[in-house]
């Protein structure tokens, strides 16, 4: 088992392999290193909206127009973006590819109190929407990005990789 968190550089290389054209991402503490890796990436255009509901709608527009966006959002942003995800992803069956940062996972699984409610409701929320999920906890799990991508395409429905420990250099 590799150390906790996936390498930001290896993650970006996997995203290149999968052909993503855009990443929609608002900086957060878990994904900071991935954000910095994408800021000057020559192959993937980074768009930084103000709130995640925007991110989802922009991604749906990019996909409708023929491009391949990736949504990278923290679980708190996922919750804020509920109506947009319902309307632009789940309802019309737009295959939104998503990476969701699992704020609170490290503390909760280490037994620290209080438990972050953002941790508690992340998986149940995605399950309620019938959105398939995989966990990306280390470099060993980078293949989950491919599974997420293929499943979104095959089902024409959103799919999510949850990142529990953030990223390492």
């Amino acid at each position: 088992m590799s150390e906790k968190g996936a390498s930001a550089g290896k993650t970006v290389r996997k995203l290149h392999e999968l052909g993503f054209t855009h990443a929609l991402m608002i900086p957060d503490s878990e994904s900071r290193l991935l954000y910095e890796a994408l800021e000057n990436d020559p192959k993937i255009d980074l768009i930084t909206p103000c709130r995640e509901g925007e991110s989802v709608a922009i991604a749906a527009g990019l996909w409708t127009g023929g491009l391949k966006p990736l949504l990278v959002i923290q679980n708190t942003g996922l919750m804020e973006a509920g109506d947009s995800l319902r309307g632009c992803g789940v309802g019309p069956r737009v295959p939104l590819r998503m990476m969701v940062g699992w704020r609170g996972y490290g503390g909760a699984t280490a037994g620290k109190l209080p438990i972050d409610s953002a941790y508690t409701y992340t998986e149940p929320l995605l399950q309620a929407w019938r959105i398939p999920t995989w966990r990306l906890m280390s470099d060993d799990d980078l293949g989950t990005l491919e599974l997420m991508d293929h499943t979104a395409a095959e089902t024409s429905y959103p799919a999510v990789v949850i990142t529990g420990y953030g990223f390492k250099p």
Partner: protein, 195 residues
């Protein structure tokens, strides 16, 4: 003030290959003057986010303009979008903000009276902004002025954010929520997109 149906007729007459994204009351009246697979009814796709969807389309399809009909109430639901548009909107995006100062679709309740959408767009950096620093913010108050400006708006580099004070004396057709997935697929087919 501009009567909304007259506004729609003027744009429909000049429209060629532009994508037209609409939401709220525009989804009820634009189809009375236009029937095109490049029309996209955003109703029920996400409150306040029609221009964000239009931004994605405009980036993806630089060969044509993307026009968004958006209401002022919806603008208030996602004001941060103005900042995002001011940073990333490409030169082919045109946002027409239909300013009726009310939540017309749900009963006509009044909007916050002091909110100034031109000033909000300016403060967001839209003028001189966008992906190519050609962003333009305008307020057009009459149908005649709009008729004069439209050929320029549809041909010059933007992005454009244009506030249009509107009234409506026509009876609104009933809401008809058509198949959401079908709306997306129809537009993708019109744009020759395949997964």
């Amino acid at each position: 003030m501009i009567e909304r149906m007259e506004l729609f007729r003027v744009v429909a007459e000049r429209r060629t290959d532009e994508i037209v994204v609409m939401t709220m009351t525009a989804t009820l009246q634009w189809p009375l003057v236009s029937e095109s697979d490049l029309d996209f009814d955003f109703l029920a796709f996400g409150m306040g986010h029609a221009a964000d969807f239009g931004l994605g389309l405009a980036i993806a399809r630089p060969e044509r303009k993307t026009i968004v009909w958006k209401g002022d109430g919806g603008m208030l639901m996602s004001l941060g979008s103005l900042v995002t548009l001011a940073r990333y909107a490409p030169e082919n995006l045109v946002v027409f903000l239909l300013e009726n100062r009310s939540y017309e679709m749900v009963g006509g309740q009044e909007l916050p009276p002091r909110a100034d959408f031109v000033e909000l767009a300016l403060a967001s950096g839209f003028a001189g902004g966008g992906a190519t620093s050609k962003g333009k913010v305008e307020r057009i108050d009459s149908l005649e002025a709009f008729q004069d400006a439209l050929p320029r708006i549809l041909t010059e580099a933007g992005p454009h954010f244009i506030v249009l004070p509107v009234t409506n004396r026509e009876k609104l057709p009933p809401v008809n929520h058509s198949d959401h997935s079908g709306r997306i697929q129809t537009l993708r087919k019109a744009l020759n997109v395949s997964e």
